[in-house]
């Protein structure tokens, strides 16, 4: 009985671990995809405030800084 209980708990845990890892992996993929899309878009500067500032000084435009 004790053996059966241990096996059941282990199977549950081992079954849950890949799910958690998969969710993590999906989130990581989404961040990487977002970086790629925003970086390829000419409109946005990706995660580089100083570069944006230099561009604002050069163009005399105001900055629009989005935290997301």
């Amino acid at each position: 009985m004790k053996y059966l209980f241990t096996v059941t708990v282990l199977c549950t845990l081992l079954g849950a671990l890949p799910l958690r890892a998969q969710a993590q992996s999906e989130r990581d993929k989404a961040v990487r995809l977002d970086k790629q899309e925003v970086s390829e878009d000419d409109f946005w500067i990706y995660d580089n405030f100083e570069r944006a500032r230099e561009e604002a000084i050069r163009s005399k435009k105001p900055l629009l800084i989005v935290f997301r």
Partner: protein
């Protein structure tokens, strides 16, 4: 939009805390800024877990953008109305300088590896600031406990479809007593140009516990100057229960409980005081420090009717405020529970 240089910031790891000061519980926030780092305004407001975007709209953002462009055109001649919008010197230059965050995150993200785990989240800044105070066994200050109050806290709401038009004024509130009216457009609050709800929150965040707050509104084509009187305790009407940073307070003082206030009818049905403390346990944490209430014997459906001998009719937010300001780590707190008519006396630990 093409009249701006647009930058997207995705991490707070190396955030300049002497420049980017905003509501760190937000998941979306905007700054309008001059290249010399003078801030024209902020945009982005939230007040619930479920409905994260109800205080924002494309129309409201468009009007805020137009106003920011006007401020940019008139800069630097308009520095006076921008002075109050500028950041205040921070003791910590970046999040990694906080003792509880030190050394935990690199300044760059690990895009090749577990990138989300390498990201320091904005709300952790708020957690870290509170932790310093808790470790000193001091009460958390009101601005740190109740950050960035909505205008509703003093009795008026702004229409998110507009830049700063008043959508409603609560009867008998500070805003009502000051003479604010539905349909007024707030031009300045506390002497600062208002481009958005977030700008109004910035003013309120830095307001004193009691002070006279000047407001200028546009009404029927005319400018009207009014004064809102803020009285001691006004900030405590600000609901903080939706905030991610409040999860820490739940762990600290409730041992992982999530509450739902009872309606009058539910109070009658349960036989609890109609004007006393009555918070139903909606969720009981299951793991680690968030399971302290479970270990103490609390169950889902229980009704909290006394906390540390306090029996006032608190919202979940006000309970969290009491925990942050009136309890110290290591203390044991007596709670009284109504479980299907039976009264139970239990004890919760005040945790780190």
């Amino acid at each position: 939009m093409d009249k701006f240089v647009s930058v997207r910031i995705v991490k707070a790891n190396d955030l300049d805390l002497n420049l980017f000061q905003f509501d760190y519980d937000l998941t979306f926030s905007i700054f309008f800024m001059n290249a010399d780092k003078t801030i024209y305004g902020r945009y982005g407001t939230r007040s619930s877990v479920e409905d994260a975007e109800r205080h924002m709209s494309k129309e409201g953002l468009a009007q805020a953008l137009q106003s920011a462009l006007m401020l940019h055109e008139n800069y630097p001649g308009n520095r006076g109305v921008l002075a109050g919008k500028q950041p205040i010197i921070s003791e910590y230059k970046e999040p990694n300088d906080y003792p509880s965050l030190r050394g935990r995150y690199k300044s760059t993200l690990d895009y090749a590896g577990e990138v989300t785990k390498s990201c320091l989240h904005c709300h952790q800044i708020q957690d870290a600031a509170r932790r310093i105070v808790r470790e000193q066994h001091k009460p958390i200050s009101e601005p740190l406990m109740y950050p960035y109050p909505l205008p509703q806290t003093i009795g008026f709401s702004l229409d998110p479809q507009t830049r700063s038009k008043i959508k409603s004024v609560a009867d008998g509130s500070a805003a009502d007593l000051a003479g604010l009216r539905t349909g007024d457009e707030v031009i300045t609050l506390g002497g600062q140009a208002i481009l958005s709800i977030a700008d109004a929150q910035w003013v309120l965040h830095h307001a004193k516990s009691s002070q006279n707050l000047p407001v200028v509104v546009q009404r029927n084509g005319e400018r009207v100057s009014l004064t809102v009187k803020l009285v001691e305790g006004w900030r405590r009407q600000n609901d903080i229960s939706w905030r991610v940073s409040s999860w820490g307070m739940r762990r600290i003082g409730t041992g992982g409980l999530l509450f739902q206030p009872l309606t009058t009818q539910e109070r009658r049905n349960a036989g609890v005081d109609l004007d006393g403390l009555a918070l139903r346990v909606k969720h009981v944490g299951q793991y680690g420090a968030h399971a302290a209430a479970k270990r103490a014997g609390v169950k889902v459906g229980d009704i909290l009717i006394s906390y540390d001998s306090q029996v006032g009719d608190w919202t979940p937010s006000q309970l969290l405020g009491y925990i942050g300001q009136k309890t110290v780590t290591g203390q044991k707190v007596a709670i009284r529970i109504n479980r299907e008519g039976k009264i139970l006396n239990l004890t919760l630990p005040i945790q780190k």
